[in-house]
Each structure stands twice: as structure tokens, then as C-alpha cells.
Symmetry: none
Subunit: 231 residues, 2 copies
Amino acid sequence: MSRSERLFDLLHALRRHRRPVSGRVLAEEIGVSLRTLYRDIASLQAMGASIEGEPGVGYVLKPGFLLPPLMFSPEEIEALVLGSRWVADRADDRLSGAARSALARIGAVLPDDLRETFEGSALLVGPGTPAPSVAVDPALLRRAIRTERKLALCYRDGTGAASERIVWPFALAFFDSVRILLGWCELRQGFRHFRTDRIAAADLLGTRYPRRRQALLKDWRRAEGITDPAD
Amino acid sequence: MSRSERLFDLLHALRRHRRPVSGRVLAEEIGVSLRTLYRDIASLQAMGASIEGEPGVGYVLKPGFLLPPLMFSPEEIEALVLGSRWVADRADDRLSGAARSALARIGAVLPDDLRETFEGSALLVGPGTPAPSVAVDPALLRRAIRTERKLALCYRDGTGAASERIVWPFALAFFDSVRILLGWCELRQGFRHFRTDRIAAADLLGTRYPRRRQALLKDWRRAEGITDPAD
DNA sequence: TTGATGCTGCCGGAATCTGGCAGGAGCACC
DNA sequence: GGTGCTCCTGCCAGATTCCGGCAGCATCAA
């Protein structure tokens, strides 16, 4: 692989990892010695890429470099189509429609050869176990999360006992057959999860909750011992 | 100026002119001999750039090498991120890497406000039932499908009985816990499906099968009474 | 035909690239 | 204070690539 080609690759590798990456890892990924990697980074920086390196941490590429990324590879197209099909099949109507329309936008910018891959993708999503019917509009839950606003829930737990509580919703997790709303429960002063099919009613309150949902998610991950998949 | 830097410049110059530009002009603009310019163009083409040169006219950069800025609605972004996360979590290593990589590309061309939605997406994919270990490389199966080539399978069915057969693979279906290869079986002269975890061995044969995989998929859909989701 | 242009092969000298080593410096953690 | 991780730089020698020039062919349009 020529040096120039490698620089494109390096740029993409940096974009792929959003967390700081050590030079050693990058060098291995690209297949080049550490010394050369440092040189390559310096080259990209000289060309105007805002790559920041901190001793003991690694490199991060700040967004906004003049050069747009390269086109998708065929495998990437297949991955996007498959993922969108899964969303289209499994999510609620709004999200499912959004998946289809996002896919259409992507299709519109593909060159002819990739459009063939795109249209003829042979990766299908089998129908899953049908999702239990849900009383509240999932779009409402997502809006609450996105705008970081409190939610008044009327919830029936596994034993059938009903309760009312105020929660700070910060994420929605998709499992094979159920969806689970993650939130901080004001009543219990702790993280709780709620199966969406057991939420009898949800009221979007006007008040925002006092923390950033990213921070809540991070705390929750630590509490549950779940590592961030972005790492 | 180093060669790599020059290639970036050349790309820039090509994007600037939308009309065909002669190699001579480009060479002067960049400050390099004509011979070298031809070599540079060839390098970019080798990297996948669709630069078209017509004798007597000049060069034009067709869209399809660099990903243009894309505009999505926030909900579309969430759908793409969620879908890609699902693929990243559930598919084999290659496809999963492709999902992450495609996502990074999309993230890089989003305007700032959308990038916020993109990075802070709160839709998670729960860990599924762990996929049974698979003896054959799923990438091989996908390649067979993509190139419409026959596959020699060594398969153990549900009862444990082993068989060898030649199939025409035309699709791969992802279920919650298993993946299923769809194919036309030469032995049985009919459509058959194969759980990938029960495929003991698969040989990619050199011969292409005589029908288009789209047509096979359509026939299969009709035979199974499954409507095309694209309708 | 003529001219403009794209494109390729060849060559030898020049420039660059590469990996390894040694060392410095910042930072966090113990 | 020591240890470990990291970024970063200088130096060097051998390998590799790059570069310009030239000569020639192909294609297209006037």
C-alpha cells in the first residue's frame, strides 16, 4: 500500500474510533511501525487535520477536517442496509419509517456500481418474536429522552403491582422481544428499567431533569458493569 | 510538497473545476510535470476515485469517491445508529466492523447540529442470545451470494444426519439467535434453508449458478408466501 | 489530415520513505 | 519518588519510490 493510500486509511481509522486511540493500536491497525505512524500523523496535521494527541491518552480527530470521507465499501453498504431493515422491521412506525427514508437518502448518493449492491442486498432480517403491544407511543419516550425531560410513568411490574413515579429517562434499549426504558427513578432514588409494554401511561412533563443524559448513561454503565461499546 | 499532500491537492483541484480540465492545466496548477500528473491520476483511480478522462476533453471527477454531505432528520440519524449498532453487535466480525466503519463515515459528513444527535444517540441494543458458534466463515457465504457462485455444503440437519450437497445460495437471513442460508438445492431440486451453525464445511466452487439471485429470491418469496417488504 | 488530449513504457538519478534505536517530556497512579 | 503509558524527535542506513523526459500509440473532433 502506498503512503498516500495509507494516509486516507489513517484518517478513516481515526474517524472510526471516537475515543482516544494510542499510536500503537493505530500502527497495528494500519500495518506500519510506530515510528512511521508518528510521521503520518504529523503529515496529516501539516495538511490541516486537527488531530490532537495527548501523552498517556492517545489521538482524537476533531470533526471538521476539510476532506470528506471516502465512499462506502460494498460491505459497509450491506451492513447499513441490513441494520436499517432490522430497524424497519422491529421498531415502531415512526422509527421504522425513518430507517427506510434514511436508506433512500443514502441510496441517492451512491455511484452506480454500489447502488447495485445496495438494491440487491441479500441479507434479510427474519421476523422476530412479535413485540408485545405497547400502550404508550414509543416516539413520546424517545422525545423525552432526546429533550431530557421528566416523565410521569404509570407502571405495572412483573408481579402486576401498579405504581406511579417520576423518572428521568436517558436511554431506550432494544432486546429481541422487548424494549426497555432506562431511567433514574425519583421515587427510589436509583436507576430503574421499565419494559415499555408494561408502561400503562406516560406523561411528558414540562420540566427538564437536572443532569445530562450522557452522564446518566455513563453512571448507569458503571453501576451495571457494562463497558461502553465505543471503546 | 510531498506526494501524498499533492494527491489531496489534486483531489481538491478536481472538485473545484466541474468542467473537464486538461491534464496540462492541472499539472501546472499543482506544479508538477505532465508525466507525473498522469501517474497521480492513476493513483487516485487505484484508490477508487472515479475520475474520467476523455481524449481531447480532459478530466472530470464523478461523484462517488468522496461522500458528499448528507442531510438527515434527527429521527433518521437515530434509526441509522440503532441499526448499525444492531449489526455491530450481532453479525460476524467483518460485517460488524463494516457497520462501525460506515457509521464513522456518515458521522464525518454531518453538519454540527446533527452530529450531536448522532453522537448522543440513546437507543441501545441489548445483548442478544449469544449466536451459536459457526464453523464456516460467514464472509465466505456472503461472497458466494454476492458473486452468485455455487457452494458445496457439508450439512448436519436437526436429527444429526449429515449430508453433502451443492446449493445455489441467494440470501442470508438473520433471526434472533440463528442465521439461515437460503439456497436452491441441486440434490433435492428445491429451495432449502440451512442454519449456518449446522454447516460443517462450505467450499466455494468456481462455477456460477445459472440464474440471477434476485430471481431466485423472488421465486422463493412466492413459494413461501412471503411478501416483498419493498412493496 | 491535423491538433489536442489521454495513456503507457522505459530509464537513471534524485528524493523520499521506513524501521529501529535512543532519549526526552508530560501525565496518572501507586 | 518510581513506574508505566504515551506522545514526540533526532539520527542513520538501506530499500523503495518518485520524477522528469522522451518516444510512441489511441481516440476524438474539426
